[in-house]
């Protein structure tokens, strides 16, 4: 269990983490979602005792991280899969961690097998690894000491769809056995696939949190017509407010039947009409991202 309480970290005048509080329960995968630079990694580094907090606290089952004896055997941490010595072999990196924790070397082979790194891959130097292989190695390293709590920063980054599916299975089973998982991602899709609970962070502040079901369930309709402006006029004249969503589509709070009738009354031909499931979270996330985005946004279909 991880308890973060009113955590704040400032760099000069910049608040990287701003009064953040949340809890990660055992038996659940908690997804930490936010655009790049939102404060996810800083929060995780503070939990792991690498970055001192300006104020507030981050405790692991009531204990300050530096006070955990042999922490690798109680809490598994992966903060950056690329932060490995490029000249070391994958196997050697795990061997160093096992030696530090006082584990038998057989544990290294078990973990390599668990993350599907072959013996020949494990003898290659990390500079020759793809990002996906580094992630697998990093996860092996985090799981090495058989911890009950996992903290993973962007673990799905660089994994192919099959790899993400594999990680979902791995973390699902880990949580089902009673483990606590906190993982971060800047991709809504990854979090949707893997997490049970979602914490959304933007500009250092928590902007939404809840179970996946709560956050993804939003009343409303996604509607799209061949002539978007005609559709917008039709909805407005029917007294429905709408907002652009996806490429050329609109989203409104009304239910699909009302929207359909309004469009039919105005004689607008629809190409798509469906409940806007999850669109609320996606739009909120896109808004968050928009502030840090350099290009103009072309959102994908809002239904995700």
């Amino acid at each position: 269990m991880i308890t973060v309480d009113r955590l704040t970290k400032t760099y000069g005048g910049y608040r990287a983490v701003d009064d953040v509080s949340f809890e990660c329960r055992p038996g659940a995968v908690t997804g930490f979602l936010g655009p790049n630079g939102a404060g996810k990694s800083t929060t995780m580094r503070i939990i792991a005792g690498l970055t001192p907090a300006t104020s507030g606290s981050a405790l692991v089952s009531g204990v300050n991280y530096p006070d955990i004896p042999n922490p690798g055997t109680q809490i598994g941490v992966l903060l950056d899969a690329s932060a490995q010595h490029a000249g070391r072999t994958g196997r050697e990196i795990l061997a160093l961690s096992a030696l530090t924790m006082g584990l038998p070397m057989s544990r290294v082979d078990e973990m390599l097998q668990l993350v599907s790194l072959t013996p020949s891959e494990s003898k290659r130097r990390v500079k020759n690894y793809s990002l996906g292989m580094r992630q697998r190695l990093g996860i092996a390293n985090a799981l090495l000491g058989d911890p009950k709590i996992l903290i993973l920063d962007e673990p799905a980054n660089g994994l192919d769809p099959a790899g993400i599916h594999w990680m979902r299975g791995l973390l699902r089973e880990y949580a089902n056995r009673g483990g606590t998982v906190l993982l971060s991602s800047h991709l809504l899709h990854e979090i949707e696939v893997i997490a049970d609970e979602i914490i959304v962070i933007g500009n250092g502040k928590i902007v939404a949190e809840g179970t996946k079901a709560e956050l993804l369930q939003t009343a409303g309709t996604f509607v799209k017509a061949g002539d978007p402006s005609a559709l917008a006029n039709a909805l407005t004249s029917a007294g429905l407010t709408s907002a652009p969503s996806g490429d050329g589509g609109l989203r409104t709070e009304a239910d699909p039947a009302t929207v359909g009738k309004a469009a039919a009354a105005a004689g607008v031909a629809l190409v798509e009409l469906r409940p806007a499931e999850g669109a609320g979270l996606e739009e909120m996330f896109l808004q968050l991202t928009a502030e840090t985005q350099r290009e103009t946004i072309t959102p994908e279909g809002a239904g995700a």
Binding site: A28, G72, S82, G87, K148
Partner: protein, 262 residues
Amino acid sequence: MSTAAPITIDTARPGVPLGRLIKVELRKMFNTRSGFWLMLSIAIVAAIATVAIIIFADGDDLSFGLFAQGIGIPMAIVLPVIAILSVTSEWSQRTGLITFTLVPHRGSIIAAKAIAAIIVGIAGMLIAYAIGALGNIGGSAIAGVDPVWDTSLVNLVTIILANVLGLLIGFTLGVLIRNSAGAIVGYFVYSFVIPSILGFLAFSQDWFEKLQPWIDFNDATLPLFDGGPSGEEWAQIGTSGLIWLVIPMTFGIWAVLKSEVK
């Protein structure tokens, strides 16, 4: 899901003992390709220096002291670099993210690194001596003279001490700068640029010439290579070591303990 049992942290579990950390740090020095060759370079450099002395020195001048001195010069560069990299790679290669989460007591890690570097330094010097001794025997045989063993045991120990002090200068630069290239450049500045500046000052200013041995660590440690220091010279090693070693290292370790690991 909310029915899962609460997870407790076992605070009574034994921590990671220092001996294990020293083993880990020693292993880290050898288990990369560059680290391995750097270690091997101790023997290679000693062998090259030995061969060069056999080729270029006069047969009558050959003595173990000559070999020990010839080997000591390249060693004074290799050993500090080993110490520097053992510290800075945690930052430059960012392995500190793992090292300092597995052992959240940075002081223990830094202590383990210092001890590991000193072990390597002493072992490296002993290997270098062995190669030098072989060179003295072989070189004298080639030149047709009796091998001369002119270096006292005490002097052999003070030469090792001088090299360990040099290695600790590298270690200090490592904790202060925490960047491989920067710290290595810093070491070259320390061992080549600063002595010429201080030497020039002493040459041009009388008052500084008297002061120099007390504040110039490079200068103060020279007697260690050459027969062993006198009482006053030991005191000079002490005062200049305070300035160049103890104070900066204290500050560097404090910075490591306080800094953010990214």
